[in-house]
């Protein structure tokens, strides 16, 4: 456990430190890079939390795709030089965040969480770590899952099953969501052919609301 603790604290320091960097430094490009570091650290958390699959997804999607997308965006918008100055809400935002943090810490500490009973701990761990892989029989035995039905249940339990089973509806919905988001993004990003940057609607003040306040 000691090793894992050390890893946890290291990751924590990295995650929090880099996160602070993301929100504090003015250089947007570096902020984006620090964000990648945070993502990777969070991936590390996932590994510690028996969620290897998520860790992979985290690194691939977040650190890979999203961060790259953001970095592209940073490069494309010419404001990089101007950097990322804070606005006037620094102090209220800071105070509110701190207060919220205090509240959330109280929640974490002061709630009577119903922790996993020790007898289930190992089987749950198996299920979680084995969510995307087959579980060796001896592992099951070691975890005290002895009867066949329970073994089968642990064997069968997997993220994929859940995603196309019990969670098929949000799964489908999220696919529609992705589609919609993509279509929306596409429609917004592609320039209009006729009027260039400004949409045709903008010439109709009542419609676009461009008239002065």
């Amino acid at each position: 456990m000691l090793f894992q603790d050390i890893v946890f604290w290291l990751l924590s320091v990295v995650a929090v430190g880099c996160a602070l960097g993301v929100v504090l430094i003015r250089d947007l490009f570096r902020a984006a890079l620090l964000l990648v570091a945070v993502f990777i650290a969070v991936g590390g958390f996932f590994v510690l939390l028996n969620a290897e699959f998520l860790a992979v997804v985290q690194v691939l999607i977040y650190a890979g795709a999203i961060a790259v997308l953001i970095i592209f965006a940073v490069m494309l918008t010419r404001d990089v030089q101007q950097g990322n100055p804070p606005n006037r809400l620094q102090i209220p935002a800071g105070v509110l965040s701190a207060l919220l943090l205090a509240a959330l810490i109280v929640v974490a500490i002061d709630t009577h969480w119903s922790f996993l009973p020790d007898e289930d701990r190992q089987s749950v761990e198996l299920v979680q770590t084995g969510a995307v892989s087959t579980i060796p029989a001896e592992s099951l035995e070691r975890a005290g899952v002895s009867d066949a039905a329970a073994q089968e249940a642990v064997e069968k339990a997997g993220l994929a099953d859940l995603l196309i089973g019990q969670y098929v509806l949000p799964f489908e919905a999220v696919s529609v969501l992705l589609l919609a988001a993509l279509i929306g993004a596409l429609a917004l990003v592609r320039p209009s052919p006729s009027t260039g940057s400004e949409g045709a609607g903008a010439s109709r003040p009542g419609v676009s609301g461009t008239d002065a306040d």
Binding site: A93, L96, L99, L100
Partner: protein, 694 residues
């Protein structure tokens, strides 16, 4: 028994005349205004005849009460419209119809050529009808209704020349002042209704006048339905109404101003009939008054005081009609005093004689005005030569007013003075003494101002009438006494009357004839209808006084005849002495004066000013109370409060909402992150709220 339909007709005929004129003649036949006069005179002639028949019938059969229809009915008290014909009513009917008839005839001449003639006769008809209705009412609410209608007719007639600001103002003043008194009357009615259940418990109707009489009478077992302090207050409420109508102090201020109306109106309404309605009202509820010594004392004192005070004011007036107006106030004071003293019969008797001679006096003033064009006596003089008939008739009336034997005024005034001399047994001595002294002093002053009036008008040299008056006024245009007059705006060139120019001649027959009839009355009516020593021309001793006193006697549950005091030589001597003294003083002052223009009484100095300013009572009322205190301060304050405070709060709330909106909208800075901050802040506040609450 009198025939109910006939009695109704007395009232309905003039009313019909009014309706006819108002709805037909005035709108469609205005080119022939004499039709209106005809209608009025015809109706009144018939009414007079019917009134005489009624009187006769009442003499023979005593009174009668007719209840015709329920007007409204609530909680055991039914307001029944009906007729109450008792001796008082019968006498009043005859007085009102006959005087009114004569004055209508007179008006045909006096008002000749006035563009509003039809309107005039309509109002006159309405007034007569209302007055008759008033005397006939069997129900206090009905009485009140006609009471008010009389008031409004008076308002209309005073303001008949409504384009004259002073007339309009005087009309308004008359109405409002009398209405202040009417509040007391109304409250008395409210009190009656308050007691309606008690009335009903003994089978009486709280609004029915004979029932009220009965309720006020003490009963053997227990308290009367009406009694104690409440009865006094109720009586005083009624008296307040009466005082307003009859111009008793402190509500007398309107009556002199009311002379802005046409002179026949003054004669009929503000001398002979309507102002006497106050006396009538007290007489009508005399059985109630009788039960309260306090109320009687108030009536007596106010009557005596008014009699004296008005007489003094009459001393210095230059307007002949105002002199007569104060004289009227004064004489009404005598009647009130008589009532207060318990001399019911004397008051009514004086009411009758006064109606005749005062009407005559006013008609005489009208006649004088007809010739001179003015009412200002300082521009008259020497008219005796030009209008002898008028002169003689006015002399008769004046002597009657002064109380010279054997003219009408003497007999009736003598009865009042006798009653005052005897005093009311219930009163404290000082009250009796004060009353008597006041009344006697009044006699002196009455004689004085009457003589002054006659001297100024008929003797000496003619001083130019209206022409001279206009010439004097020309440099300073129409300085009206009325506050609301738009000075200078008025295109009228005459100030005192509507007859332009001076034409020194006797008035036409249509005017003189009614005066002559009244003159005859002023001579004979005092003794002939109320002989003092022996039955005269078939009329029994104390006929009128006995007649009305019997009416009262019966009403209060008495048996047989009322007992009346006999003629008292001693008293007659005192009163005659007082009258002659006053008259001689007047003769001395005005017959022997050297400067025909300067007013001799000016030597009184400040007293003269005080009198000519009417004791500053008008100033007090109009300037100090109404204008300065009420209108400029109190009402202005209320108005200011309404706009600033009450409405201001409303506007403030509106302003607040509009601006709080803008203020909050300012927070909507357009910064999207501010919105996010609001979300965070809101969430935290909610959490905090829950934590604090639990």
């Amino acid at each position: 028994m009198v025939n109910e339909a006939l009695v109704w007709a007395i009232f309905l005929l003039p009313l019909g005349s009014f309706v006819l004129i108002a709805l037909v003649i005035r709108p469609f036949l205005n080119r022939w205004p004499l039709l209106a006069a005809l209608s009025t005179i015809a109706a009144l002639t018939a009414s007079t005849v019917l009134a005489a028949i009624t009187l006769r019938s009442v003499i023979v059969h005593h009174g009668a009460v007719f209840l015709s229809w329920d007007w409204l009915s609530y909680g055991g008290a039914t307001i029944q419209m009906g007729l109450l014909v008792d001796p008082l009513t019968a006498v009043m009917l005859v007085v009102v119809t006959s005087v009114s008839l004569l004055i209508q005839i007179y008006s045909v001449g006096y008002m000749d050529g006035d563009p509003g003639l039809a309107r005039y006769f309509a109002y006159m008809s309405l007034f007569t009808a209302s007055m008759l209705g008033l005397t006939l009412s069997s129900n206090i609410v009905q009485l009140y209704a006609f009471w008010e209608l009389v008031g409004v007719s008076s308002y209309l007639l005073i303001g008949f020349w409504h384009d004259r600001p002073s007339a309009a103002a005087a009309a308004k003043k008359a109405f409002i002042v009398t209405r202040i008194g009417d509040v007391g009357f109304l409250i008395a009615i409210l009190y009656l209704f308050f007691k309606a259940d008690d009335f009903a418990a003994v089978g009486l109707n709280a609004f029915h006048i004979p029932d009220i009489w009965q309720a006020a009478q003490p009963v053997a077992a227990g308290a009367a339905v009406l009694g104690g302090a409440a009865l006094t207050w109720m009586a005083l409420g009624i008296f307040a109404g009466a005082a307003g109508k009859s111009g008793q102090f402190p509500l007398h201020a309107w009556l002199p101003d009311a002379m802005e109306g046409p002179t026949p109106v003054s004669a009929l309404i503000h001398a002979a009939t309507m102002v006497a309605a106050g006396v009538f009202l007290v007489a009508r509820f005399f059985p109630v008054f009788q039960q309260s010594v306090e109320a009687m004392a108030v009536v007596a004192l106010i009557g005596a005081f008014t009699a004296l005070m008005a007489a003094t004011m009459g001393l210095v007036m230059n307007d002949i009609k105002r002199v007569m107006a104060y004289s009227t106030v004064s004489q009404l004071g005598y009647m009130m005093a008589a009532l207060g003293l318990g001399a019911y019969h004397a008051a009514i008797f004086h009411l009758v004689t006064h109606a005749v001679f005062k009407a005559l006096l006013f008609l005489g003033a009208g006649s004088v005005n007809h010739a001179s064009g003015t009412f200002d006596m300082t521009y008259m003089g020497g008219l005796r030569k030009y209008m002898p008939a008028t002169y003689i008739l006015v002399m008769i009336a004046s002597l009657s007013l002064i109380g010279i034997i054997p003219l009408a005024g003497f007999w009736s005034k003598d009865e009042i003075l006798l009653a005052a001399f005897d005093g009311n047994a219930g009163f404290a001595d000082w009250i009796n003494i004060v009353t008597f002294v006041g009344l006697i002093a009044g006699v002196v002053f009455t004689a004085f101002y009457t003589v002054r009036m006659v001297m100024l008008t008929f003797y000496g040299e003619f001083k130019g009438g209206v022409d001279q008056e206009n010439a004097d006024l020309h440099p300073q245009p129409a300085a009206s006494a009325q506050p609301h007059a738009d000075a200078g705006d008025d295109a009228h060139d005459e100030e005192g009357g509507h007859h332009g120019g001076v034409h020194l001649a006797e008035s036409p027959l249509v005017m003189v004839a009614p005066m002559a009839v009244l003159g005859l009355g002023a001579v004979v009516i005092g003794y002939v209808i109320n002989p003092q020593w022996i039955n005269f021309l078939g009329v029994p001793i104390h006929w009128v006084t006995g007649f009305v006193a019997d009416g009262l006697h019966v009403a209060t549950g008495g048996e047989g005849h009322a007992k009346l005091p006999d003629f008292d030589w001693q008293m007659a001597g005192i009163s005659t002495a007082a009258a002659v003294a006053g008259a001689l003083a007047g003769l001395a002052v005005y017959g022997l004066r050297r400067d025909p223009v300067r007013e001799p009484l000016r030597i009184l100095g400040p007293l003269y000013v005080l009198l000519s300013q009417k004791y500053y009572i008008d100033v007090l009322y109009e300037n100090l109370i109404v204008r300065r205190s009420f209108y400029r301060v109190f009402a202005a304050l209320a108005n200011w409060l309404d706009r600033r405070l009450v409405d201001g709060v409303v506007d403030l709330v509106g302003w607040f909402f509009r601006n709080i909106g803008s203020a909050v909208a300012r927070l909507q800075s357009g910064q999207v992150q501010a919105y996010g901050t609001a979300i965070a802040l809101g969430s935290l506040l909610i959490i905090l709220g829950f934590l604090l609450a639990s």
